[in-house]
Structures are given as C-alpha cells and as structure tokens.
C-alpha cells in the first residue's frame, strides 16, 4: 500500500512536471530539425494512422523518428502527472467541504483544475484520433459528378465550383490567379441529404465524416490549361468529439478563471481605494 502511495506521489510530483517540460523542449528541438530535413517520413502519419506508420516509416528510420516515440512517452508521463496532480488538489478542495456554503467560490476555485482535465481530454482525443481515424486521400470531384465515400453508402456530389480570380491592378503578379475557392457539395445516404459549402479551412460535416478541401484546379486563368476539379480528403475521426469537448471544457474553465481574476483585481482596486481614502481622511483630520 505504501509503495502504491509512493508511486502515486512520485508521479504526481510537480518537479517531475518541470523535468518533463524541459525534456520535451529538448526533444521537440530535435524534432524540429528532423521534420525539416525529412518531411516525407512524417507526412504519412496524418493519413495512415500511428500504428501503421510506426510499423513502416517509424521502424525503418529509427534515427529520424526516435524523437517522436520519446515525445509520446513524455506526453504519456505528463498525462499521468497532470491527472494525479490535479486530482490531489481537487480532492483537497472537496475535503475542505467549503463548497457547501460557498458554492460559487468553490466553482471558481475549481477553474484551473477544469482546464487541466480539459487538456487531458484533448490529449486523449488526439491519441484516439491517431490510433483509430480513417483518412481517405485524393478523392477527385469533377463538376456535376459524384463519388462514393469509401466503404460506405454515402455519395458526394459537386454541385457547383466557384473559383475567384484576382482581377485587381495593384498586384500585377497576382493577375488572374485564384484567390478563393468555394465548392457547393450535396452529400447523401439512404437516410439523409445535406448541402454544404466547402472551402480551405471550411470543412463540410456529414456525421461521422468530415470533408476537407486539399487542392483544386485550375489555379490560374493563364498558363497551363488544367481540367476543373477539386481534391478532397474524407476523414472519419472518432477522436474529434473528444478534443472538441476538451476545447469546450477548457474554454469554460478559462472563462471561470478570467472571471475569478477580474473579481480579485476589482477587490484589490476597491481595497486600495479604501486605504487611500482613509489615508487622505487622516491627513485632512491632521
């Protein structure tokens, strides 16, 4: 029992967290150079999933990928450390039982811990995402044509493609170059049909799938005459709901924390004003 307690306390030690942060900085510095010099080794991790990547690119290029395995190990320890550390403090808060009389104050005191738990949910989400998401690259959609989402009965139809070309005179080199693209999609299966406008950083959702724009053509009115198409990535990511909930929880915690900080600041300002008034009164009396 004592050993368990010792391990629990050791893993929850705040100094361990500082050590981990330093090690992660060093590891990520190495990672920066590795990513820069061997981008092709790490790019496939986004679509083939971590396990398959580790068995192929990772295993066969250990010199270049070791930093990533180390990073995952550090993140795992940081996860445990944050969980224990936060749980210890939350337990103390509950033990004080002050939450029964000062519920609002208790919730506000809980805000940093809410943010920590949110971070853990986000990390868990990314883990689920890298382990179990399905990504289908290079789905080419031609105007007014449809494609099937792989291994499903869903169909995506490109209803309309609008490419905005620069027509201004200020930037001569941008003349006739694409500056924005919007694709109107119709996605349907046996049960439902939805329409959505796809753009860069504007995915279209059709639960459990998300459709992302990867590329399009033609990018210029002049130059190479290319066929009109869009290239989309279709993702089925079970981790998304975890990290989105984590983000929401983090925002909630952050709002509570900001509220607490503002209250504390107002209190300090009021206290100092009172002190100032008293000092002034005293000096007037004198």
């Amino acid at each position: 029992m004592n050993i368990l307690k010792y391990i629990w306390n050791l893993l929850g030690n705040i100094n361990l967290m500082f050590g981990l942060i330093v090690l992660m900085i060093l590891d990520l510095t190495v990672g920066y150079f590795m990513l820069k010099s061997h981008p092709h080794l790490f790019h496939p991790i986004n679509d083939m999933g971590f396990l398959k990547w580790a068995a192929t690119y990772g295993k066969n290029n250990l010199h270049e990928t070791a930093w990533l395995y180390l990073l995952i190990f550090f993140l795992a320890v940081l996860f445990v450390n944050t969980f224990i550390c936060t749980t210890q403090r939350v337990t103390v808060l509950f033990r004080k039982q002050s939450f029964l009389s000062h519920k609002f104050r208790f919730i506000i005191k809980l805000s940093p811990h809410i943010m920590h738990y949110a971070l853990l949910i986000m990390l868990l989400g990314y883990l689920v995402s890298y382990l179990s998401s399905e990504t289908c690259l290079n789905n080419i959609l031609l105007p007014e044509k449809s494609i099937q989402i792989p291994n499903s009965l869903c169909e995506i139809h490109l209803n309309r493609l609008h490419i905005d070309y620069y027509q201004g005179e200020r930037l001569q080199y941008m003349q006739d170059r694409a500056i924005d693209v919007q694709a109107d999609l119709i996605i349907k299966n046996k049960e439902k049909i939805i329409t959505g406008r796809l753009g860069f950083n504007k995915p279209v959702w059709f639960f459990p799938y998300s459709i992302h724009l990867k590329d399009f053509a033609p990018k210029s009115k002049s130059g190479m005459n290319r066929r009109t198409y869009i290239n989309v990535i279709i993702k089925k990511d079970p981790g998304a709901k975890y990290y989105f909930s984590g983000m929401l929880l983090f925002t909630f915690g952050l709002l509570l924390y900001s509220f607490h900080w503002l209250m504390e600041r107002n209190k300090i300002t009021k206290d100092s004003l009172l002190t100032l008034n008293r000092t002034e009164q005293k000096s007037m009396e004198n």
Binding site: M34, P39, H40, H63, A66, Y173, Q175
Partner: protein, 376 residues
C-alpha cells in the same frame, strides 16, 4: 557531480538523435538499397512487402495500391481500383521520366501503349518506333485526353501526374499511379524512383543495376569535385511573362550542385519542382551567380544570351547573362532519365570544367552571347 552526469547522459541522447538529422542523400540510399527489404520509402513513395507475393505501394499523392501476381486472389480490404496485377503488360504514361524508367527496366517496348506527346516531340527511339508501328497511341494533350482512344489501348495501368483523370479511370476500371509529388524529388528519390516502379514489372534486378550505375557516377563526381579549386555559384530557373520559376534547394539539381562543391543560390527555397518565387529574390541571387541553367530550350527561345535577354528585360540584368555562363537543356535532356548518370556527369562538367578536360556535353548547350545569324 550527479547533476553533471545526468546532463552528460542527456547530451549524449540528444547527439545520438541529431545523428539522423541530415537530409537523405545518395549514401544513405545506398545502405537502404542493399539486401532484401520489407519496407522502403523513396521520397513520397513507398514499397512494402505485405506478404510473400503481395506488395503494397504508396504513390506520390499518398494513394495506396496493392500489387498481386496475375491469376491470384486479391487480398481483402482493397477497392478494385487499388489492385494491380503484376507483371503489368500494358501501360499509358504521361511523364518523360516515367517512360525513361520503363526503358531502364527493359519493358518500354513491351508495355508502353499510350503517351501524351506527339511523335515529333520524342527523342526516345523506342517510342518513335512504337508510334510509327501503331503500337503506341498518342492519346491527346494532357488536358484533352481522348478517353475513347485510351479505352481502345486497354491499359492495365496509367502513370500520370494529373489527378483529374482518376474519376474517369476509376469508371473504366484502370488503376492509376500518381508519379509526381507535392515537393520536388531529392537526389536520392530521383535515383531510387526506379525501385518504386520495378515491382509493377517484376524487374527489381534491373532497378538495382541502374541504381548502382548512377550511384557510382555520383561517387566519381564527389571525388573529382573535391579537387576543384573554386565553388561556382549556380542558379536554375527562369523569368516568364508573369511568373518566376526556379528549382528549389530540396530538388535533386539543387542537391547535386551542393554535392559537386558548388553553391546553389536557391538552397533556402523549399517546395515543389518549378516553384514560383518573387522577381526580387531571383534578381538578388542573379547579382552573384556565375552559372544560370534556364528551363528554356533552343526551341523555346533560348538560342543565345541576347535572345534570352529579349524575352524579359529584367533577366538581362543577372550576372550570368552579362559575364557568366548560361546553359540550356537540349530536347533529349527531359527524356533521358534512363541516362541519369550521364546527365549528372554533364552538370558536374559544367560546374567544374577543369576536372573534366575534353568532356563533350550531351544534354546541355552553352548559350553564345549573340545569335550566330545576327553576328554577320
């Protein structure tokens, strides 16, 4: 003392990690190529033996295909357009380099059935002969492929850089491999690309022999260049009407220039081959450069420095045009990927002529100051 020990251990681990922090080069490629492999990454491409007779490949766009011997059952979990029966017997190819690799593998005459360049544009005798005999069909320009004609040719595989034809090929049930990549191929990937195409034709032996030939040539270049007495500054690109295109530092030409004891002026530029940069960046490098490799061939206007300067007044200001050297690729350059060793040697001889006395250029031509006909 304990703290110092910890610090030392940490430093050793970091140094060990940094050991792999150099770009993939021909030397590392050599090591990886030796012996049997279960997985091989070649730039953005990869080849993985997933079973005794099944090979999974990943093309330049990240699409997965599985190669299975003819007459055997396809593994589960793959769509019909992902399955390629090997050895492939009928191929349509877009890119000159892909076709050159078919030549390396010794299958060009047997398997090539369709191209996207007219007969007059070809310098490869096998392709010219095939077109003349009607075995190889011209399928139309890349943006206006005659799919009816393509269907008649009954290809079992299409090698292309244009992803927009994928939906049509899927409909026709023809698997397709994207052979271009989002970032330029480095020297190692260029040399080992043959290993990616070899399993499609069961020609791994030919791939190995090509790789060792190019590798030897590279070793020679490295050795000879180490005796060079100067480091010429090199730029590879051109100014067009509305855009400036160059070869980035990560491209094979950029790496080769560095390897041959020369200074590549766009070493800091990263991205796809023929990447666009600002005019100012080009002109800035042009102030110091000694040698310019232009994309234009004599056929597209690069007949002399004066002719090149006439295409764009800004280009006239770069040093290679004023008092340096300008080289233009000959028509056979783009179609001679099977002679990559000779091309590398040509480039090395241009950079260090003192190391290659009497070398006759076969793939490039040095541009004279003025067009010969205007001299008189």
């Amino acid at each position: 003392m304990k703290k110092i020990n910890h610090l030392m251990i940490g430093l050793i681990i970091i140094l060990a990690l940094f050991n792999g922090c150099k770009p993939e080069n021909a030397e590392s490629a050599k090591e990886k190529d030796a012996g049997d492999f279960t997985f091989m990454s070649i730039g953005s491409f990869s080849v993985e033996r997933i079973a005794d007779n099944w090979t999974e490949v990943r093309d330049g766009a990240g699409r997965t295909l599985v190669l299975i011997p003819r007459g055997t059952k396809a593994p589960d979990g793959y769509a019909p357009n992902q399955i390629v029966h090997v050895p492939v017997k009928r191929v349509v190819a877009y890119g000159y380099f892909d076709i050159a690799i078919l030549k390396v593998l010794g299958v060009i005459e047997d398997v090539l059935v369709g191209v996207t360049a007219k007969m007059n544009d070809w310098t490869v005798p096998e392709v010219i002969k095939g077109i003349k005999q009607g075995k190889i069909a011209y399928l139309g320009d890349y943006n206006a492929i005659d799919f009816e004609r393509l269907k008649v040719q009954e290809p079992e595989l299409v090698l292309t850089w244009d992803p927009s034809i994928i939906p049509m090929l899927d409909k026709m049930g023809v698997p397709c491999v994207i052979t271009s990549t989002p970032v330029a191929m480095c020297l190692s990937a260029r040399m080992r690309f043959v290993n990616f195409l070899a399993p499609f034709f069961n020609r791994e032996k030919e791939a190995k022999s090509y790789f060792s030939r190019v590798s030897q040539s590279l070793d020679q270049i490295r050795k000879k260049a180490s005796n060079a007495d100067h480091e010429p500054k090199v730029m590879w690109g051109d100014i067009y009407e509305k855009r400036v295109l160059v070869e980035p530092g990560n491209a094979w030409v950029g790496e080769l220039v560095g390897l041959a004891q020369s200074d590549y002026m766009f070493d800091d530029v990263f991205g796809k081959s023929c990447i666009e940069i600002s005019l100012e960046r080009f002109l800035y490098s042009g102030e110091d450069a000694d040698i310019l490799f232009t994309y234009r061939t004599p056929k597209t206007g690069a007949t002399s420095k004066a002719a090149l300067a006439r295409t764009n007044a800004m280009l006239a200001g770069v040093k290679p045009l004023k008092d340096g050297k300008v080289y233009s690729p000959l028509p056979n350059y783009a179609q001679s990927g099977d002679k990559l060793d000779e091309i590398l040697m040509d480039i090395a001889a241009i950079l260090h002529p003192e190391c290659y006395p009497g070398h006759q250029l076969r793939y490039f031509i040095e541009l004279p100051d003025k067009d010969p006909e205007k001299e008189g």
